[in-house]
Amino acid sequence: MSDGWLFLTMVACGLVTFLIRLSFIAGGRWLPQGGRFEGFLRYVPPAVLAALIAPDILMRQGQLDVATDNLRMWAALAALLAAWLTRSVLATIAAGMVVLWLLQAMV
């Protein structure tokens, strides 16, 4: 798509984000009671991130690909382990990229 569409999409995303942040500061009073809204929102990060990761790693050309020659799958597993052990974004990226490069060099 064109740069114009890219710009407009960015502005729309910026506006949505800004309006969310402005909502209660501007005087909004409605908030689902009993911390329910808060309880629900804690599942946004794991759900959205997992939904974005899975197809990116496990699908190729629109087909599920969990064969052993799916190098990105192995690199992602290494990254998962690194993230779990270190809890660092940089260490996770480093582990995943290095494993991907090593596997690409070997195959």
Binding site: M1, D3, L6, F7, T9, M10, V11, A12, C13, G14, V16, T17, F18, I20, R21, L22, S23, F24, I25, G28, L31, F37, G39, L41, R42, Y43, V44, P45, P46, A47, V48, L49, A50, A51, L52, I53, A54, D56, I57, L58, M59, G62, L64, R72, A75, A76, A79, L80, A83, R87, S88, V89, L90, T92, I93, G96, M97, L100, W101, Q104
Partner: protein, 238 residues
Amino acid sequence: MHRPDLPVHGPMDEFLAGVRAEVPLLLGVVPFGLIYGVLGLAAGLPGWAVVLMSSVVFGGSSQVVFAQLWGAAVPPAVITATVGVVNARHALYSASVAPFLRQLSWRWKILLAYLLTDEAYAMAIVRMRDGAPSAHRHFFLLGTGLTLWTGWQLSSLGGVLIGAAIPASWSLDFSIPLTFIALLVMAARGRSEVIAALVAAAAALALQGMPHKLWIIAAAAAGMAAGWIARGLNRRTP
């Protein structure tokens, strides 16, 4: 340092105290900004868009999500909805700081709402809620917000400059899912979060056939519902 029990806080004192409180957080924000800049280019966004988005959207994870979805040719409406979902938590911050900003002019409210990010909020709410009452305490939030804003703009610009020098053969676009993996592991603290992630991942794979790439929203909703239900069941068992 300013003792919080001192009765009088001028605007400049509050502002500088906010800046000082926020600076240590830049240790985490600057590497993330660099990563965002590099992978924004790797995802196929032009450099101007990667840099401009840092001020137009100003929300780290949502900008990375935007870059990935744009690179995958997802329709603009679905990208906007997904960014809205990712940033929905900011409504909680808005509700939390609102009582302290009630007396301010619209100009202030708009400015502070724009600057209300995770890190700026986290530092400012401590000052607002627990610190001494002061007519100028919104300057503290201005200090944390502007410090974070500056660090984010400079580091994403730096990332674009670094990213432009990295050849495509390095498969650096792969750093996007890797970043998400790191954020996911940090977000998945309990069993119900892990269930939310697993259900969302399975739904994302199963629903690929949906038109307009709506599987992103559908899978996220399925995961959130699963996490919510799992927590409810967990509570009931003794």
